[in-house]
């Protein structure tokens, strides 16, 4: 390996060392620190003139400090006449909108560490199975509700005659951008004007809270700093690659994950892969396809709260639907869609539901990122409530901010499998060695650096891993 220089940032030194071990070289000397006023200072200890430079920095820890440190390092290498500068970001920061829960007024709901967590969404998740003892309130639940709804929609007055949202079609859910569902929705009318309420609504009614997306900005900043190439793993949105004017190699964790499932999960042939939200369905489905496993989906959605009035509101009452292999696919979804149309002014609530059968099965939740852990801990509870025998969580980037680790440790997740794109020492400390398995991605990164340096194809890494 001649002419190659690898620098590591402050965020994840152990991964840098492992990647360098795989390449058979030593990380190059760089001094990283801060001036007394808080500005980042760096000094590069060896020549980079006409060298192929790789700077490894994960977007974890103190994100903004680490990101600026990366930018300054890239810029320093560029101005020191490096021939090519590549940013290696195992976890790409600012690649998604935050999925922290918000209050109805749009303020972030950041929970403080608690003794006990409930993992319930509000209102409670509807249970479509016999586990609920509630009797149906209506005696005449038609066999085919979907058709019935569509018929009734035609009887609506003209003003309300809109095409029904095609919630029954799985494809529309699959291709829905995950960020969409994460933008906090602020109801237009506020009941009591608190600070935030008046902030966003009182003086300018009709202005919807709009959250800036930092994606393009981050891409442009990297290019501005002088990056010629970016290597990352499991980008939250694959579309993110399009924000860059430079090549972006998005590596996949999938081969490593597949390998783990095959060799470490007993009776994996009977397991069910579960995507905790619609945005990740494709990711989970592709692993399920490759291993020929069955697949289930947990669907989070915001919908208008159902009024207590209608006697046949099967959605809130939960039980009583004919049990089939596709418990929720048709019926209650179609029903609630119609409610949303007729009660558009009512409050929005978030609810989760499971599509697919997990009874007495081992479930493997697959997601690219766990930050606050709200999504997966709720998913795990839902799966256990539906009769899953064991719940694994297979995560690429375990950021675990705030009190996420405490939530996970109290949740129904039996084992969490996570890669070392983000340091996981604390995860092991909190959850214990038996409940955490850290997968090593340094070989994939090492090999991709080797191949990019030598000008070889890296597409083989997408399929087979390393």
């Amino acid at each position: 390996m001649s002419n190659i220089v690898v620098f590591g940032g402050n965020s994840h030194p152990s991964l840098v060392n492992q990647i360098c071990d795989n390449l058979g070289i030593k990380p190059s000397e760089v001094k990283l620190g801060k001036f007394s006023n808080g500005e980042t200072s760096i000094s590069i200890g060896e020549s980079v003139r006409e060298k192929d430079v790789y700077v490894i920095q994960s977007g974890c820890g103190h994100v903004n400090d680490n990101f600026l440190e990366l930018l300054i390092l890239l810029n320093a290498c560029k101005t020191a006449s490096a021939s090519r500068v590549t940013a290696v970001m195992p976890y790409f920061c600012y690649s998604r909108q935050p999925d922290i829960p918000y209050t109805a007024k749009g303020a972030p709901l950041i929970s403080k560490p608690k003794e006990v967590y409930t993992f319930e969404s509000h209102p409670g998740t509807p249970l479509p199975s016999v586990l609920t003892t509630q009797k149906p309130l209506s005696h005449n639940v038609p066999e085919n509700i979907t058709e019935c709804i569509i018929e009734s929609a035609e009887e609506l007055p003209d003003g309300l005659k809109q095409p029904l949202p095609k919630r029954l079609n799985m494809d529309t859910n699959l291709h829905k951008s995950p960020s969409q569902s994460r933008i906090p929705v602020v109801p237009e009318r506020e009941e009591n004007s608190s600070d935030l309420g008046s902030l966003f609504n009182a003086s300018n009614a009709g202005y919807k809270l709009w959250v800036a997306q930092a994606g393009t900005l981050v891409a442009n900043l990297l290019t501005t700093a002088g990056a010629d190439h970016v290597i990352t793993m499991d980008l939250h949105d694959a579309q993110f690659q399009g924000f860059f004017d430079i090549p972006v190699d998005n590596l996949y964790c999938k081969p490593i994950a597949q390998n783990y499932i095959q060799y470490n999960i007993p009776d994996y042939k009977e397991a069910v892969l579960v995507s905790p939200d619609a945005g990740g369905a494709k990711r989970a489905a592709s692993i399920a396809d490759a291993l020929e496993l069955s697949f289930a989906l947990i669907h989070k959605e915001r919908r208008s709260q159902l009024p207590k009035g209608p006697p046949n509101a099967t959605f809130t009452s939960g039980g009583g639907l004919p049990i089939s292999s596709h418990p929720l696919l048709g019926s209650s979804l179609g029903r609630s869609a119609s409610h949303e149309m007729s009660h558009s002014s009512s409050k929005y609530v978030q609810t989760t539901m499971l599509v697919g059968d997990v009874r007495n099965k081992v479930c493997i939740i697959v997601d690219d990122l766990v930050d606050t852990s709200y999504t997966i801990t709720r998913a795990a509870k839902l799966l256990k409530d539906q009769g899953a025998s064991k719940v694994y969580a297979l995560i690429t980037h375990g950021v675990f901010s705030g009190d996420a680790l405490n939530r996970v440790s109290q949740s129904a997740i039996d084992k969490i499998i996570v890669t070392n794109t983000v340091p996981q020492e604390k995860t092991i400390e909190v959850l214990g060695k038996d409940r955490v398995q850290v997968l090593n991605v340094s070989r994939v990164f090492g090999e991709s650096i080797r191949r990019i340096h030598n000008g070889e194809s890296i597409s083989m890494l997408f399929e087979h891993g390393w």
Partner: protein
């Protein structure tokens, strides 16, 4: 409906200067919400429409979490840009990383240039700053930069609060000689210089005084005070040369690290900073600190920029 009016944006922390500017202009600060995720990332939303408006983002960058402030500023600029603002002006009185403006050793980053590029990339159309460490930094930008001077405000302060007829202006290093000499000319005072040999950043080794300070009130003038080690040492040197008393006037009082301790233990009578850097809480810890308010200069420059008037008047005169 007024079109293309001034919108003032400021982050939710350190908005003291922005509030003063807003008061002076008679324009309320625009409602914004900056969220810091538990993971540390910044997300930002503006509470009202800014389409086709003239945006001024007032950002005070002090010591400590500089990088967070920089990212917040960039996200705010970018958000305004994508929200179809007509023009975005970043008002950054204390320009971050201004001291890393050259390759002082091999492979050192020119971070000031990187900051300039990043601001432009984010969508900034204009930059207003004050007393840049090196005015050449203006050349790093592809967009217009207005480098305001604190000098008129400082002159006013000296006239009103110091017995300036018995004073002498001191530059604590050769680099600041020009600034100090200009101020001395304005006030028609004498001028002396301290030459120092710097061993490492934020550390001072030996000082030599050039000029006579006997029985004078010494006014040390500098653009930035960081740990205040230099100022404390300079005060000692001046008093050793039979100066009557010593005060320091700096534009950007970053006052990081042991600054407060250094000032309290030093022989300085007073340390006066402008409010380009937030240091309200430090004033409680240190009775020797005093403030020069520059919000009037910034407010006037914002008004003139918006109306397309000349700014150069403000370089020499304090606005009424």
């Amino acid at each position: 409906m007024a079109t293309n009016s001034i919108k003032l944006l400021a982050p939710d922390v350190h908005r003291g200067l922005a509030e003063l500017v807003s008061k002076r202009l008679g324009i309320d600060l625009t409602d914004i919400k900056l969220k810091r995720d538990p993971s540390g990332e910044v997300s930002f939303s503006i509470g009202e429409s800014v389409r086709d408006q003239d945006i001024f983002i007032i950002m005070q960058i002090g010591s400590g979490v500089v990088n967070d402030r920089v990212l917040e500023l960039l996200v705010m600029i970018n958000a305004s840009k994508t929200a179809s603002a007509r023009r975005i002006t970043a008002v950054i009185p204390n320009f971050p990383y201004a001291r890393q403006d050259r390759k002082d050793k091999s492979r050192a980053p020119i971070t000031a240039k990187l900051m300039a590029d990043m601001l432009t990339t984010a969508g900034c159309d204009h930059v207003v700053t004050m007393d840049l460490h090196a005015s050449q930094i203006q050349g790093f930008f592809d967009v217009p930069v207005d480098n305001l001077y604190a000098e008129p405000s400082v002159v006013r302060y000296i006239r009103e609060h110091v017995n300036y007829k018995e004073s002498i202006i001191i530059s604590p290093d050769a680099g600041g000689a020009k600034r100090a000499a200009a101020l001395a000319d304005r006030l028609d005072l004498n001028f002396a210089l301290i030459h120092k040999e710097r061993a490492r950043a934020n550390e001072v080794s030996r000082m030599v005084l050039v000029g006579d300070v006997t029985d004078k009130v010494c006014i040390i003038v500098d653009d930035m005070a960081d740990t205040c080690g230099t100022l404390a040492k300079a005060a000692e040197v001046l008093l050793d040369h039979r100066a009557k008393s010593v005060i320091a006037i700096v534009t950007h009082g970053v006052l990081s690290g042991k600054a407060i301790e250094n000032i309290n233990n030093s022989k300085l009578d007073r340390v006066v900073c402008t409010n380009t850097v937030p240091f309200e809480e430090k004033m409680k810890l240190c009775p020797k600190l005093d403030v020069i308010d520059v919000s009037a200069v910034l407010a006037e420059s914002i008004r003139r920029l918006h109306n397309g008037e000349s700014i150069s008047y403000l370089f020499k005169n304090y606005p009424l």
